[in-house]
């Protein structure tokens, strides 16, 4: 039972990628705050020899990489990434680049499909970042491209983006808009 809470806490810390309080964890898990705190402490002990660690500061907990991996991480970050972006990621990225700042809903309106997964991985890769909140109902998150994005595409600034391609105003399915016509 407690093992299960501990593993869920680990998943939450991993996915959130930001410092989280025991109260937030407790509320997401539907457990008492004390139980979340206990799971955090126990997880910290279990991780002490692993590649990821728990870091606590002012009541907030965050998952971080082990300090002894710092050099290797820098080397990995410096390596040219052979991994090409998937077509879905490229499309999403281009919508964010040309329409920024943009909400997820707006991206989805353009692409016509759910984009949470693709957006999440672009965020994780640091190509897209949160740039604020929209004034609209629910104040959804606004996304924009990052410095890393400019670097990846060798652009000095966003002004250097290629001109926005003109589309058929009727929005008919032209050869290039429907994938495999």
């Amino acid at each position: 039972m407690s093992d299960r809470t501990e593993s869920l806490v680990e998943a939450l810390l991993f996915a959130s990628g930001r410092p989280v309080t025991p109260a937030e964890l407790a509320s997401a898990l539907g457990v008492r705050r004390e139980e979340a705190l206990e799971a955090l402490r126990s997880l910290r002990d279990h991780l002490s020899w692993r590649g990821v660690r728990l870091h606590e500061h002012a009541g907030e907990w965050q998952m971080v990489s082990a300090p002894e991996a710092a050099r290797a991480i820098e080397r990995l970050a410096g390596l040219p990434s052979p991994q090409r972006l998937s077509p879905a990621a490229m499309e999403t990225l281009s919508v964010v680049a040309y329409r920024q700042p943009v909400t997820r809903a707006q991206v989805e309106a353009v692409r016509g499909v759910d984009c949470s997964g693709v957006l999440g991985s672009l965020l994780a890769r640091g190509l897209v970042e949160e740039v604020g909140r929209s004034e609209g109902p629910g104040r959804p998150i606004l996304y924009g491209t990052s410095l890393e994005f400019l670097r990846l595409f060798g652009l000095e600034s966003l002004d250097r983006l290629p001109a926005f391609p003109e589309l058929d105003p009727i929005g008919g399915s032209r050869a290039n808009s429907s994938k495999n016509g």
Binding site: M63, V64, P67, R111, G126
Partner: protein, 243 residues
């Protein structure tokens, strides 16, 4: 009846009231009668299939798929109604349709199993992962950080040093530079005197670097090599391990 979204350029398949296509309709009819998928069962459900097709309101191009299956069913049924020569065994096209339907049934089953996994999403990090832990834990202070810090401060001190003799009180600790030399030796397998003194070294740094090198050589922790006249002095590890 259809939810075709051509305005977005993304065309979703035609959604029919209760089934996804001609094979789906056929499969439902066969299953409703709890029949095994055979030529006979297909002939049996022909009327039901045709009745449903009559009620369909779909785009003409989708309707054609239904009609293709309908015509195959009709052919099948006619063969069952009319007497056949006894030599003729099963009709290959009928067996083909039955096989197609069985394959479709398996994939429909596979889709249902996959559906059960829907929602057990595995997430990647929603925010970019944080940089490596800031090391305020002194025990595991990374060597690289120490080395960088040392170099930075040496460089800074050098920059602030006025011309002339070193500011009284400035002290480079020999033991620090010796430790740096040992780390660099271990990491790179060689270290030059210039490296030890740091960029833009003044007299004090050069002297300390020289003393550190002497100390290492004296304790047989390293051997000093100069590859030519005025070439940089380089420390290399001793051939035997340190004793």
């Amino acid at each position: 009846m259809t939810t075709r979204q051509s305005a977005l350029g993304t065309q979703y398949s035609v959604k029919l009231p209760a089934f996804e296509g001609p094979l789906d309709l056929l499969l439902q009819l066969v299953e409703r009668h709890s029949l095994p998928i055979t030529e006979v069962s297909l002939a049996q459900v022909t009327d039901g299939y045709l009745r449903r097709v009559e009620q369909l309101e779909v785009q003409p191009e989708e309707m054609s798929y239904f009609l293709v299956v309908a015509s195959r069913l009709l052919l099948l049924k006619s063969r069952h109604l009319l007497p056949r020569p006894p030599v003729e065994t099963t009709d290959p096209s009928a067996e083909e349709l039955a096989e197609q339907l069985r394959t479709y049934q398996r994939f429909k089953l596979a889709a249902a199993r996959l559906r059960e996994l829907e929602g057990s999403t595995c997430y990647t990090q929603i925010a970019p992962p944080p940089p490596p832990e800031p090391s305020n834990a002194v025990v595991s202070l990374p060597i690289a950080a120490l080395e960088r810090a040392l170099r930075r401060s040496l460089a800074r001190l050098d920059g602030q040093l006025p011309e002339g003799p070193p500011v009284p009180g400035l002290r480079l600790r020999l033991s620090d530079v010796v430790a740096l030399a040992e780390r660099l030796l271990r990491r790179d397998g060689r270290v030059s005197l210039g490296q030890l003194a740091g960029p833009g070294a003044g007299r004090a740094e050069t002297v300390v670097a020289f003393l550190a090198a002497l100390d290492l050589v004296r304790r047989r922790r390293a051997r000093a090599v100069q590859e030519g006249l005025f070439a940089p002095v380089v420390l290399l590890p001793t051939v035997e391990g340190p004793d």
